[in-house]
Symmetry: C2
């Protein structure tokens, strides 16, 4: 089968189209005919040689997100059969059956679910990693509750745009930040109650304006770095901050004076450590229902790529210009 | 009435014995005839001029912990009556009715509870702040569960020694650290399953030895500073660290790679912000039951002080030589 293979870590030029052996199905696994994948920052970090604990051995086929059609099922697989349309983030990492940048992908059945009926394959392919991340952040860790004031940073980011919708679905009052009016308009169309232009208002200002100085019950930081300090500042006393990017050094005094909780969610851990992988399938089943109830939809950047253009898709991600997710369609 | 008063923040010599007006009971409050108080680090921080958000206006009577006898109750008080033996941590902070270093203390009824029948007043006086802190850390935040591997730093510290007992009561496997065999012996007598001498074993060594390299499900850091990095190191993937001292700067990469949760608990916040004060009374009622079931007992240092010797008690706390809590008895 055809695949985009990397033999060395490096810049986006490391991808090479090659003919490799089609995977053989095995017990508990499903062979998926890939229709599309999407870009997530972790795909680029792995390509660059980072995330060594999660990177597959070289040569490797990268990319986690997939939507496709079940070609064949292994022994012990009962929830899926030949012809089913599925989605998930089952591969391209250490301990998985290979990535999505190929004609076929071998996927642990615990990591996938049936695709929402009201989405195209392409739309479904951009959801898995970001919805799993947002779900774990808001529900499993952040313990989001109806009526809470929730601040979500990066309104139109991959994780941000689904987090807005899931927080709204959970009954929260959703505030979100972005740098342009265009992004904030998209965010309110997706259901955010209030869009905050962080270039025009300080944390102190918007905490005062929207929470009467109390702060937000839950802050979801999808940005990391210095923004985490702003998240601590925006949180209420005994509030909660959830971050998906905490590689930096922070003065935790602000956490102390407010008695904050900080949760770091890293969705790859369940996959690479083979610890509670079934939770991914369970969460995706919930997400399928929410999508089918028209409470969640993907935001896809107008720049769409094909499997021949994976290097360009990586370059575009790294330009930080995408609005929503970057879709990569299998044109083979 | 007689009181130890401070008119300026500073070293332990700022305490002066004075005759001040006895407080008048008011609605929702209880006037307590003070039998004893205890030392907590926060009492010393406030005396030094720190914790400005929690410090009372000067001149002030300090100290939160109290055990005493109800002298008089205000309008709307139904759970307490004249002659009741009570304990709690109701004063000496901003927004409270005055501290415990006086003959009488005016206490918000929501912040106190009936003293455990099987403890003396002196024993009860050392428990409130540390048990409220440990309870919030282990239960409200840390979500401790039966069968979990729990590591508690500072075995014979004020918070540490009650945390060991509460964690054991919750059905956890309790591991605890200290610097001497004497302290570790006390810790195992209090119920810890394993005492770890942190001067003789590295985190890597004891994580390997006791958890087979997996790490602890819950780490309770009562030490702060560099020790918080060791707590991150000792925690399992997707594990939880609870800290009561996070004034320092930390590289959060370790949190990221393990998807950790960090909760900062600061028991004064409920008091000084008048936010859910009733939780203190509720927690103390639970603690009374656990003490009466002989599952929790205080550890009191052999150096005991009187109300005439408050300055010496503060000096002794600052020497870091105490084992367990420092008791201060009302000798007036």
């Amino acid at each position: 089968m055809k695949a985009q293979v990397i033999k060395t870590f490096g810049d986006p030029s490391v991808f090479q189209i090659e003919e490799i052996t089609k995977p053989t199905v095995k017990p508990g696994y499903v062979l998926i005919k890939v229709v599309a994948t999407s870009m997530n920052p972790v795909d680029a970090y792995i390509r660059q040689g980072g995330e060594s604990h999660a990177a597959p051995a070289l040569p490797a086929v990268l990319h986690g997100d997939v939507a496709g059609i079940v070609e064949e099922v292994g022994e012990g697989v009962t929830d899926f059969k030949h012809g089913d349309e599925v989605y998930g983030c089952p591969g391209g990492f250490k301990g998985t059956g290979g990535g999505a940048l190929a004609e076929y992908m071998l996927a642990d059945q615990r990591l996938i679910a049936h695709k929402p009926k009201n989405l195209t394959m392409e739309e479904a392919a951009v959801l898995p990693l970001v919805t799993l991340t947002a779900w774990e952040a808001l529900f499993d860790r952040g313990n989001i509750k109806k009526g809470q004031d929730v601040l979500i940073h990066a309104a139109t980011g991959g994780v941000g745009h689904v987090a807005i919708q899931l927080a709204k679905w959970a009954g929260a009052n959703v505030y979100t930040t972005a740098s342009t009016e265009k992004k904030l308009t998209i965010a309110t169309q997706l259901g955010a109650d209030v869009g905050i232009n962080y270039k025009q208002e300080t944390v102190e200002e918007y905490v005062k304006k929207y929470t009467n100085g109390k702060g937000f019950d839950l802050v979801f930081d999808t940005v990391g770095g210095d923004n985490l300090d702003l998240s601590f500042e925006a949180a209420a006393i005994n509030g909660t901050v959830v971050s998906i990017l905490t590689y930096s050094k922070h003065d935790l005094s602000k956490m102390h004076m407010k008695g904050l909780s900080l949760h770091v969610t890293y969705m790859l851990l369940k996959i690479v450590n083979e610890d509670q992988r079934h939770r991914h399938g369970e969460m995706l089943n919930e997400i399928t229902k929410i999508v089918e109830a028209e409470q969640l939809k993907p935001l896809i950047d107008t720049n769409v790529f094909t499997f021949d253009q994976v290097g360009e898709a990586h370059k575009f991600l790294e330009s930080n210009k995408a609005i929503g997710k970057i879709l990569i369609k299998n044109n083979w």
